[in-house]
């Protein structure tokens, strides 16, 4: 832990940029990535030539991105396109910066899955007979996995459908406060929620994330270089990661990721020297609504099975004890595999969030339910 603690608050996010969110058939992922990069560069005050590390996630061509931006780097990473990678990339960038592999790293996530009508199930989702053990019976799509896990969870803990609905309703309310959110102008009542169709029962349409185009760029540098930044640096105070894959493609198995999330969180809190009461807001990966229950319990905000009661009464709404996803999350703002959640942490801690601003926010936590489970604690 001493080695990890020595990394606490040594690296800062000095730039954050986002493209527009929606469907932009005239742009591909690389072009959206350029939009986000240029916005982040402008936001940071860093010059292009100071950037000597590049991470490109999801967008297919890191070489093309680097060429187009005229970068000359000595650190480059092009991770696989799965959902849980953003926290891991931030963690690795911290280590790379502290090790001197680079002085200033731009991390770009870009995807045009909305325009391409990317479907997270069916023929395009097939991974082969070794990886699809349940498929011959019609099991497909990421949402089926979550539907199965949530059915089991609600059996054990007696969760009521309206308790699950509170997550989608909260994030929609937040999106209504966020002009950049895709669902900004679309309000949702509980009746609207019930009226929307099942996707995979017990999950309805509004329990599932959007699928859209967009890009996010973060610029990270060491503390000694962060003083020149245009805006208030936001430091990475702690982080944790844990992998505990099952062999049957359910990802989390019988404990809904509890033990892995718990281990990642324990490291992050200890490294950052903070506890749950210090967290002013949580940005938690929400490709499907039940993951919010799983994460709240794994992170330790409540005990196993208590999350549906924990979120009641506006507790996770802006103005409540623990606002979650003030930007509207993947359910109602934009689905960019966690990266939008990092951007929101930074903007909240800078106090840039207007109607959805969490008052006096000083510590924000990012969380991904996995796999890998990862969590980052950001601090001003």
């Amino acid at each position: 832990m001493d080695r990890l603690k020595s990394l606490s608050r040594k690296v800062a996010v000095v730039g954050v940029g986002t493209s527009a969110y929606g469907k932009f058939p005239d742009k591909d992922a690389t072009a959206l990535g350029v939009d986000a990069f240029l916005a982040a560069l402008d936001d940071s005050g860093v010059s292009r030539d100071q950037i000597d590390g590049l991470v490109v996630h999801r967008a297919p061509h890191i070489q093309r991105m680097s060429e187009m931006l005229g970068l000359r780097t000595r650190y480059m990473s092009h991770p696989a396109g799965w959902g849980a990678q953003s926290g891991v990339e931030v963690i690795q960038a911290v280590a790379a910066l502290e090790a001197g592999l680079a002085n200033c790293i731009a991390l770009i996530y870009a995807d045009d899955g909305g325009s391409r009508n990317h479907v997270y199930g069916g023929p395009s989702f097939r991974k082969g007979p070794m990886q699809d053990p349940f498929e011959p019976w019609g099991y497909t799509a990421a949402v089926t996995r979550l539907a199965m896990l949530y059915r089991r969870y609600s059996h054990f803990y007696g969760t009521k459908p309206e308790q699950l609905a509170e997550i989608a309703l909260t994030f929609r309310h937040h999106a209504n406060l966020n002009p950049a959110a895709i669902m900004h102008s679309k309000t949702m009542t509980l009746d609207d929620y019930w009226a929307a169709p099942w996707i995979v029962e017990p999950l309805r349409r509004n329990d599932c994330c959007l699928v859209n185009d967009g890009a996010v760029c973060l610029i990270l540098t060491r503390k000694d270089r962060a003083a020149d930044a245009k805006k208030k640096p936001v430091y990475i105070a702690g982080f944790g990661e844990f992998e505990d894959f099952e062999e049957h493609d359910l990802l989390w198995g019988p404990d809904f990721g509890f033990s892995g999330t718990q281990r990642a969180a324990k490291q992050a809190y200890e490294m950052a020297d903070v506890s749950h009461g210090d967290i002013d807001l949580l940005c938690a990966y929400d490709h499907f609504a039940p993951t919010i229950f799983f994460q709240l319990e794994g992170l330790g905000f409540c005990k196993q099975g208590e999350a549906p009661d924990f979120i009641a009464g506006g507790r996770i709404r802006v103005g409540g004890d623990l606002p979650i996803n003030p930007h509207g999350g993947h359910l109602s703002e934009s689905y960019l595999l966690g990266w939008t959640h990092h951007a929101e942490c930074i903007r909240q801690l800078r106090g840039e969030c207007g109607a959805r601003q969490v008052k006096d926010a000083e510590i924000a936590q990012y969380s991904n339910p996995g796999v890998p489970m990862s969590t980052i604690i950001y601090s001003v």
Binding site: P123, P129, M130, P136, W137, Y139, P197, V200, E247, L250
Partner: protein, 139 residues
């Protein structure tokens, strides 16, 4: 909801390879086959190349009685596979020997479906060359 029928909801047939062929050949003979590790005795499915407990790569196909419990289930309403007859139900059962198995529960009334319900294997011939192991609730 659509029940398991001769067309099996118009879903694509399984991708059968050398690794999983004994499972499908067994099903045609109404036998439920899983791998048993020769290193530590652990049963596993899908037929991955090594045992996650002892890392032995030696395993043999073994017939199991096909008893277990309902782990979870879901009802797919969106036709992810073109032409799929939705809605249809998919389930996971936990065999008494340990592995989780994808399946469909047949002849079940909704009110009897519950996590942990005892189940037993049955076999549904889909076409001449394909039989699916499915499960039914034990009264």
């Amino acid at each position: 909801m659509n029940d398991v029928n001769a067309s099996h909801y118009n879903l694509p047939p399984p991708q059968i390879t050398d690794q999983n062929r004994p499972f499908w050949d067994g099903a045609k003979q109404n036998r439920l086959m899983v791998l048993r590790c020769e290193g530590c005795g652990r049963h596993r499915f899908p037929p991955v190349p090594c045992c996650k407990r002892c890392l032995s790569t030696h395993a043999s196909w073994t017939e199991v009685p096909g008893r277990g419990t309902l782990w979870s289930w879901a009802v797919i309403h969106r036709p992810y596979f073109p032409g799929a007859l939705v809605p249809y139900q998919v389930a996971i059962v936990e065999l008494d020997e340990g592995p989780l198995l994808g399946t469909n529960i047949i002849n079940a009334r909704d009110e009897n479906m519950r996590v942990g319900a005892p189940v037993r294997v049955a076999f549904k011939q889909i076409e001449n060359d394909l039989t699916l192991p499915v499960f039914e609730l034990v009264d």
